[in-house]
């Protein structure tokens, strides 16, 4: 049962008076819209900017009504191999996500099953280390391995973001699975791997989905690692946004169009999977 059902306002007497209730509802939505506005507006402004010409984008005062142009999107696709960048982001994101699951799931299971709290804390260190400190050493390492600019180097770099995250998210989900099933399976002669494979994994499917989505999103958004370790051929989308800032010109329309193209897939993705994502983001914290 959810606490929601019992929040105190349900017990107030005026709850039954229709007029007050209406006013209250209106006030509530007004407040909500007020809070909601800035979150919505930034995206709206970005998308509007994507349909403005350079003159319209730098106009003083800013324009709300204007004749939209598709030129920016044309520029984005003409000046950049956007399809290639998109593909790169997908390849790197998928690679980093899959590896994170392959390595992370057994680890998370073990931490949940055997209460390896210290290990969990130790894995957190990967998240604590400032990302910049990896850049130069990795560049040296990867270039000596002749891997610079390869997908493999990028995937490995992103793995450092996705793997600890996957582990931390999945600990909560594995802790959530009923212990009795484990015990029963063990008694039935399953070994630990069997339990993991046949019981734990199927039971935590939503969690795995959530981890995968979040891993993908974070890999998709990563800018710093991609900047230094990618080459022109493997460069992912976020770096591409920067190609609209040149030595002599910031092409605001193109930039907004590129920003829209970069953020849109993620935004659309969460429309479909927001339930799992919310659960994924929060379960680890609530369970901790």
């Amino acid at each position: 049962m959810r606490a929601t059902a019992l929040t105190p306002r349900h017990h107030h007497s005026w709850r039954n008076r229709p007029l007050l209730k209406t006013i209250r509802t209106i006030a509530f939505y007004a407040l909500l819209l007020l809070l909601f506005f800035p979150f919505f507006f930034v995206f709206a402004w970005m998308i509007m900017g994507a349909f403005k010409t350079q003159l319209q984008n730098t106009a003083i005062p800013p324009l709300f009504l204007f004749e939209p142009t598709l030129e920016n999107f044309d520029t984005v696709f003409r000046r950049n191999p956007m399809i290639q960048f998109l593909l790169n982001s997908i390849i790197v994101g998928t690679g980093a996500t899959l590896l994170a699951l392959i390595f992370g799931l057994p680890a998370a299971y073990s931490i949940a099953r055997f209460k390896q709290q210290r290990l969990a804390t130790a894995i957190l260190i990967a998240r604590i280390m400032p990302g910049i400190s990896y850049l130069v050493p990795w560049f040296i390492l990867f270039s000596n391995l002749k891997m610079i600019g390869s997908y493999a180097a990028l995937i490995l770099a992103h793995l450092l973001v996705t793997l600890p995250m996957t582990i931390w998210l999945m600990i909560g989900f594995f802790e959530d699975t009923p212990q009795e099933l484990h015990d029963a399976a063990l008694i039935d002669g399953c070994n630990e791997w069997g339990v993991f494979e046949k019981i734990a994994l199927p039971l935590t499917k939503p969690g795995i989905a959530a981890s995968a989505i979040l891993s993908f999103v974070f890999s998709w958004n990563n800018f710093l690692f991609s900047l230094i370790l990618a080459s022109q051929a493997t460069r992912p989308l976020p770096v591409a946004v920067f190609s609209f800032i040149s030595y002599t010109q910031i092409d605001w329309g193109g930039l907004n169009a590129a920003a829209t193209i970069v953020t849109l897939p993620v935004l659309v993705m969460i429309l479909f999977v927001q339930k799992q994502m919310v659960r994924g983001l929060t379960l680890g914290a609530v369970k901790g």
Partner: protein, 454 residues
Amino acid sequence: MNKRILFLVAVALASIVILSACATPTQAPPAPTTAPAAPQPAAFNWKMRQGEKLRVAMVTQPWTQFVDKEVSKFKELTGIDVTYEILPEDQFRQKTTVEFAAGTSDVDVFLSMVAQEGIKYESAGWYMDIEKLVNDPKITDPKFDFKDFTTSGLGIAKLSNGKLIGLPVYNEFGALMYNKELFDKAGVKYPPKTIEEIEAAAKAIHKPSEGVYGFVGRGAGAASTSQFSSLMRSFGADWTDASGKAAVNSDKFLAAVKWYGNLHKQYGAPGATSFSWQQGQDLFINGKAGMWMDASVFFANVVDPKQSKIVDKAGITMAPGGPAGQTPYVGGWHLSIYEKTKHKEAAWLFVQWALGKEMVLKAQMNNITTSRVSAWESEEYKKANKYPEFGATFLQAMKVGNAQWNPPVLAVSEARDAIGAVIVKAIEGSDYTAEAAKANTKLQSLLDATPKLK
């Protein structure tokens, strides 16, 4: 225990190797060139390095976009395949420096700014001596006409040790752009040439209540020092004194800082301390600023109807003169060859093609201020050029300009950050002399740490 660690390392390495096996190579496979053979000069064999591959690192800027469109012709001409990397300025510097430093870079040709990274790259031994290539008849097209480059253009590409580290793709000078309409409205004559004239004009034009400002220019710390260097010299100051000691808190330097700060405070736009070129340009091309002091390269934007509202009203002159004369800075990007390249000849062919007479004229026709006399003087360009005063100003600036728009140190960015802070404080109206003292100490330590070039 040790064995276990060894085992872990071995597993880790093995997984890396497995992963790298599925890595795609950095360079795209060469596109088969089936194009008919281009007309070739009989004397020079452009195909001498057919089949080789070049990697070129470039900065996002108009010339790069121009070359980008033409590069397929180079492949036709030489049979050399080119892959390139184009990044914005800061990211470009970070990436190339990290690459070169790691010692494993496969970059062959790159764009460089001598005054920015010249000392750093030269002391690390990353620049190839261009003059040696020019003087090698076996690999240099007799029609290349090296002498056609402006003397000052080549001078900018030279280091204090006399080594030519690249050839200029374009040059620029410290300019003052002005809005003729606003000048007429305020009843001021143009072009404004001295600091007094600028102050008077700014005063007459400045109407903040109407959103019109007298003067805009850079104020965002490090970004502002390059443009400021023109002013500094107008006041008779320089980064260092005659003996080479740091001098950014000299009386003359401080006078220049004070003047610049006051101009911003009295007749500038709000927020000047966050202004790089872009914010000044936004105001200027919207007709909201009487004058804009910045690099001449931006004039192309000012007269581009797609971006600017003041196409027909814009004028350009050199950065203002002061008590010590008029010495705008001059600079530009250069095409350099990486010393450790494995494709020296192919790289040189690329430079010759990209900066050959024909390509440079084409660039000039695309509003790029190139460094070849033949391009500036060609009938084709003269006919097409709608701003004859611009050409004259450009050539004049190249004659009198000073190429040291950055302090002569290895750690240029660090020095610019320190000196930029002085300018920020002056514009704010806070204690810039104390900041200048700090900056001077910093600059001196950076000068001390700068190696002498051999």
